[in-house]
Amino acid sequence: MASPPLIELRGISKRFGGVRALDDVSMSLAPAEIHCLAGENGSGKSTLIKVISGVYQPDGGEILIDGEVVDKLDPAASIARGVQVIYQDLSLFPTLTVVENLFLNTYLRERRRGVDWGRGRKMAKEVLERLDVSLDLDASVETLSAAGRQIVAIARAVLADARLIIMDEPTTALTGREVARMFRIVRDLQAQGIAILFVSHKMREMLEISERLTVFRNGSKVAEGPIAEFDERKITRAMTGRDLNTGRFAAPEVSPGTTPRLELRGVGIGKDVRDISLQILPGEVVGLSGRIGAGRTALAKAIFGLGQEVTGDILVDGKPYRPASVTEAIDAGIAYVPEDRLSEGLFLSRSIQDNAISAALDGYAPRLWIDRKRARDETRAMFDDMQISAPGPEVPVSTLSGGNQQRVVIGRWLMTDARVLILNGPTVGVDVGSKEQIHSIIHGLTRDKGLAVIMISDDLPELAANCNRVLAMADGRLTGELTGDALTEDALETALSAETEGEPA
């Protein structure tokens, strides 16, 4: 290619206090290239985005745009050079209309004082035509679907004369069909000369859409190259640094006659999930794989009493159970570790002990008064079980590392009479060492306490290595099951890609 790269980073480093967020990173993006940035949480992806968009100033190295060294890249300069970032939360204005969400950026950039609604509407229409999508211009954004909002965010970036659009985990809230539509839009943009930097940790999407791939781990670039050089296994290995052949979980012997811990018979949830039947025996770890939007989280939440319009029968230890509220779910012995640890799982400013007993308060305070001695003793015992390293139960959870925080979230359910443990993304954002410990803790729990575990994860090696069997889910149904020797990472890949082909593109 004769033209210089759109953006080139040379030896970029960034530290926060003692933490090295980026360590001597070099990479480049060609004009109109679809590039994927892969890495686990905390690998330095978001820091890199913020360096390119001018939010952070690097401590070392240089940034070149169009072959020229840019001295001080601040957000305004970055936007002026055509860099647009679409954050995961999209940063739209829910109560304002589509038109206004589209033109506000541009008018701001043009430093206008007045608002020309006619011109704004024309611009909005044109950009949506350019993207070949139709949206109700006068609808307020809050009434749109997740996909519609995503389109508004993309259109807004295009209107701002973007030459590079950075998309942070853009497919999180989309269904398979919507992802396909978004990919079409992305390819259109490419044809119009706009480069796209995808930030993702989802293998399949990277392989499908990107031309080149850069993988980050612990603040360093660990792999880079054309997508043809990669397959899922190679990407995973680069991302996790883990040897994939280790640590296959030895499934405990389960005698066939046992009553299942959890049994679902024809369970449906609204329109999202239909006709789910499954049995999980004591000591079993069952994986649930599938795309975002396939209904995995909806199913998990419904079992935990957070679903609406649940039909069919659920049995816990053979006893019928109606999940009407979280309280009832907990009483029935269901435990749920949510996807988003920080916003859904933890009371950050409270102590470890308060977090630990939060789901079992009735047990610790049968008559209003909290049995503080028992609470402290059992929190300490939980510390040992979960191998939490912290000065003591009084320390606020906010001071712990991600891995230790996740152990508190899981450990909290040791304080209840949990018999069924649902783990939604059990090791998301947890460093590799902690990850393996958490896995072995989970196995210990199934072995010693006869827990039944449902493990929801996008991390296929995690599922393959830790589950007795894995169920595949797509479009709200169970579509397959892999078990015993058939449960390999390759087989999982095949099962999932079969689903993808089955979906209309």
């Binding site: 739209l92 109560t95 506000l104 950026n105 608002v115 006068d138 957070l306």
Partner: protein, 325 residues
């Protein structure tokens, strides 16, 4: 925009139904004299409501404006008495500026310390009332001390009609001031970027910052305008009743907030219109003033206003319901 119009249509409908109902209970409602006095009662509350509308669109709440109104009014009137100044333009300018400066204090504290507007404005209200009463005086300036020009200004009528018995009654010219202010705020809100920044800030303050709005300037615009309107309305009030009472406007914040919520402004920010607010003010004032016409004891007035606020908020809360999960 369609949604706003829908909300406005609904409010207009409620307004018409209420008017018809009150008229049926007591036809005296439709007498011109009554309608004129209703419109007159709209002016001061309405001007303040325009300011509160801005604050509520930005997602905040303001309980300090009655104190600012008192400050604008009392400081200026006492100053005019002291310096024996008689005029209209400069006093109103002063009252407006005093309100705006006090609003600037609100904006500064709220923005700088990222603090809950309610608590900040509770504090500034107390500070300002304390300063006015403790520092300037506690006695009323009544009709025989009030500057003549102010009284003359306040009693200007734009239209005078004659009753059957030969006495005349008029429509206050202040209604024009109110309409002009409403028009200006409407244009600011719909046609300028600073106006749209208020909506954007109320819809999602973080996103507004990311998109590149200068949110500090937005806060200054919102609270200074609210303060300026309050200061202006305060002085206008005293020129219309020929009295400057430093203890005036106590508890007025509730009426005004109720009117703005009745007018369809969202309690979560990001939504609201001048037309809706003007109608909301009219509904509130009309119902308050019509209680006697409908034969209801005035002691029930606060119960009715409080009840109206609760109902209006409940309806908008149902509309804007934000699920936790």
């Amino acid at each position: 925009m369609r949604l706003f119009h829908n909300a406005d249509v609904l409010i207009a409908l409620i307004l018409v139904v209420a008017m018809v109902f009150i008229g049926l209970v007591n036809p005296a409602f439709w007498q011109m004299a009554n309608l004129f006095s209703l419109l007159k009662a709209n002016v001061v509350i309405g001007l303040m409501a325009l300011g509160v509308l801005l604050v509520m669109i930005s997602g905040g709440i303001d309980v300090s404006f009655p104190a600012f109104a008192v400050a604008g009014m009392y400081i200026v009137v006492r100053g005019m008495v002291e310096f024996e100044y008689d005029g209209v333009v400069i006093p109103f300018l002063f009252a407006t500026v005093i309100g705006a400066l006090l609003g600037l204090v609100n904006a500064g504290i709220i923005h700088k310390f990222n603090m809950i507007p309610l608590i900040v404005t509770l504090g500034t209200a107390s500070v300002v009332r304390g300063l006015v009463l403790g520092g300037i005086g506690t006695s009323n300036v009544n009709i025989n001390q009030m500057p003549d020009a102010l009284i003359a200004f306040g009693r200007t009528d734009v239209l005078t009609l004659e009753r059957a018995n030969g006495t005349t009654f008029g429509l206050t010219a202040m209604i024009l001031v109110y309409i002009a202010a409403a028009l200006v705020i409407h244009l600011l809100l719909t046609r300028t970027m600073i106006g749209r920044s208020v909506y954007a800030y109320g819809a999602d303050a973080e996103a507004a910052k990311r998109v590149g709005f200068n949110t500090g300037r937005t806060m200054i615009f919102v609270y200074c305008t609210a303060g300026a309107l309050a200061g202006f309305a305060g002085l206008l009030h005293s020129s219309m009743i020929w009295l400057a009472n430093p203890r005036d406007f106590v508890g007025l914040e509730l009426d005004v907030i109720a009117a703005v919520v009745l007018g369809g402004a969202s309690i979560f920010g990001g939504r609201g219109s001048v037309l809706g607010t003007v109608m909301g003010v009219f509904i509130l004032v009309m119902i308050q003033n019509s209680l006697i016409l409908m034969g209801i004891d005035t002691t029930w007035q606060r119960v009715v206003v409080g009840g109206m606020l609760i109902v209006a908020v409940a309806i908008t809360a149902l509309r804007d319901r934000r699920a936790l999960v």
